[in-house]
């Protein structure tokens, strides 16, 4: 998803310290460095992605997010960001807590499982959705926790997380006409800027 990256790239402060959890090939950190001169570090476990980061000069640290982030001190980063990876965590709520502990603020984007096309796929075909965004078969997927926009809203309330801003995005023009009326149905991806209450 490119829309969510475009949207969040202006949420980072110039020259801030940024930690990107599951940074992939490092494209977000690389563009933030060019745009805002941030000091960024990415965490990643995929060897190929790590090499790509190194090759484009992005700081990347090989670390499994599921084994915890206790090695990072409280408030040691301005912003901790995670794009399209929360659904792949063993314990998403604990990762969220850790992100809020390490960063002054957090930016999260995730695929909304309540999106109408995903619902339709499950309802009409009776099979687990395989879409452009969730492009895996159920038995071989990194995505082990599916949740909706509404689920995440509830989790933030439960855990006293303050939502600074949130956006619902979709690549389709038609979706965007209804998205503010019924985000849980028309958002393909949800984007959150969070902080501790």
């Amino acid at each position: 998803m490119i829309l969510d990256i475009e949207l969040i790239s202006d949420w980072f402060r110039p020259k801030s310290r940024v930690l990107d959890l599951g940074c992939g090939d490092g494209s977000l950190l690389s563009s933030l460095k060019q745009k805002h001169s941030i000091l960024g570090y990415g965490l990643e476990i995929d060897p190929e992605a790590i090499s790509q980061c190194i090759a484009r000069g992005v700081n990347v640290v090989e670390q499994d997010l599921n084994r915890g982030l206790t090695n990072f001190p409280d408030n040691s980063f301005d912003t901790v960001v995670m794009t399209q990876a929360l659904q792949a965590m063993r314990f998403p709520h604990l990762v969220l807590d850790e992100m809020l502990r390490i960063g002054q603020d957090c930016i999260i984007t995730f695929p909304n499982f309540g999106y109408w096309r995903t619902r339709a796929y499950l309802n009409l075909r009776g099979r687990m959705p395989v879409t452009k965004q969730l492009a895996y078969q159920w038995y071989d997927t990194p995505n082990i926790h599916f949740f909706t926009y509404n689920d995440f809203e509830a989790l933030c309330k439960e855990r006293n997380i303050r939502v600074l801003r949130s956006y619902c995005v979709s690549e389709r023009f038609l979706d965007r006409q209804f998205i503010s009326l019924w985000p849980n149905m028309f958002a393909e991806t949800a984007v959150y800027h969070l902080t501790k209450l």
Partner: protein, 392 residues
């Protein structure tokens, strides 16, 4: 030298010798009025002398890191990674590899002559610290007309030198590559080193370190020290795969009196003897002590974040999963100190069952990470030469 081994090899190389006339005051306070360094270089220095890489060897290494010496059948100790088109690419970089002082491959050390007395140094060669190696490397750097290293690279004790460079001469290197290393040794590391030293000193031919003067050599003690070291550089898995419980001679069938020798016994004995024929016992004692004394942050109130605050270069840190002498957790300490200090660092934790020795051996991922990093460094140098050319 076979044809196939020449593929991507630097080919024939020959060492050079330089006598440094500038006095070198060591950390222990003793001054070497002059000292000799033996080194090799691979590749060509570019137009603005900016593409030089320093290779730092570990405990038993030498200047001969890559290519072949005339008549040799095996290449230098890091030939898997240094050469044209290899991770440390001699077609893009000018690579400098020296034998450090205190070692025994031609540079000043216990086996060389003390110019002040005309006698062999032996055990009286002054005690050394990693910073002394760095200072002597800096003199070589000046001799070669290099102002800034594009990278300083080393594994194990070599990685310690790379880190020390970043603190002692922050403006003289752009990148430090720290492989299978640590900011200081653990008690267990020091313990292994002390057992090795005691093995050497227990050999009757050690003669309190004066064996050269008495034309003897503590070969047995040094072999024992190396055998112990060798076991700690390998992993349990690797030894199991390589040797298992295979017998070299003898049999377990009954009514046989022939002595039994396991493959691992024979291998270790061979390695120990081979090493004691080529290395000096006093050098071994000297350099293991140097390892023990190393503590990157000692002069910075023991605070590695404060220490790395002085660094200006970028870092690449690499560890190996089965390395229990310099475990991945030790590399992660380096990485986290660097992150807290706000320095650029990348870290690759390579899966390998080769133990500490993995840093010397071929491994695709390791090669890929190192090559990706250095190729970006080389691209940066090319771009800046290009930019200068455009300006003039």
């Amino acid at each position: 030298m076979s044809g196939s081994s020449l593929k991507n090899s630097i080919g024939l190389v020959s060492p050079q010798t330089v006598v440094m006339r500038e006095p070198l005051t060591l950390a222990c306070g003793i001054m070497l009025s002059s000292h000799t360094l033996v080194f090799e270089t691979y590749g060509q220095l570019n137009a603005d002398n900016s593409n030089a890489i320093l290779i730092c060897h570990a405990l038993s290494g030498s200047h001969h890191a890559a290519g072949f010496h005339e008549g040799d059948s095996s290449p230098g100790w890091w030939d898997s990674y240094i050469g044209p088109g290899k991770a440390i690419d001699s077609s893009r970089f000018f690579i400098v590899s020296l034998n450090n002082i205190g070692s025994c491959f031609g540079s000043s050390g216990p086996t060389s002559i003390n110019p002040d007395t005309g006698e062999v140094w032996g055990a009286s060669f002054p005690s050394l610290r990693a910073r002394d190696w760095v200072e002597s490397q800096r003199l070589l750097m000046e001799h070669l007309g290099i102002e800034v290293w594009a990278a300083v690279i080393g594994g194990s004790l070599g990685g310690m030198q790379a880190m020390r460079w970043s603190l002692e001469h922050p403006e003289k290197l752009l990148n430090a590559v720290v492989i299978a290393s640590a900011m200081k040794l653990s008690a267990q590391n020091i313990a292994f080193n002390e057992i090795a030293r005691r093995a050497i000193k227990s050999d009757p031919d050690y003669c309190d370190g004066d064996y050269l003067q008495q034309e003897k050599a503590p070969l047995h003690g040094l072999a024992l020290a190396r055998m112990l070291g060798h076991v700690t550089y390998l992993s349990d898995e690797l030894m199991g795969q390589k040797f298992g419980r295979e017998l070299r001679s003898g049999t377990f069938s009954t009514e046989k009196t022939q002595p039994i020798e396991f493959q691992i016994e024979s291998y270790l004995n061979y390695q120990g003897d081979k090493f004691s024929d080529s290395f000096d016992a006093n050098s071994y004692i000297l350099i293991t002590k140097m390892l023990d004394y190393f503590d990157l942050a000692r002069q910075y109130q023991g605070n590695p974040v404060k220490a790395f605050g002085h660094a200006q270069c970028k870092f690449l840190v690499i560890s190996f999963s089965s390395d229990w002498r310099f475990a991945p957790s030790r590399s992660r300490e380096i990485v986290h100190a660097l992150i807290s200090a706000g320095k650029d660092v990348s870290y690759a934790a390579i899966e390998s069952d080769m133990g500490h020795d993995a840093f010397l051996l071929p491994n695709n991922r390791y090669e890929d990470a190192l090559a990706s990093y250095l190729s970006r460094v080389a691209d940066g140098l090319d771009a800046s030469i290009q930019a200068e050319g455009d300006q003039t």
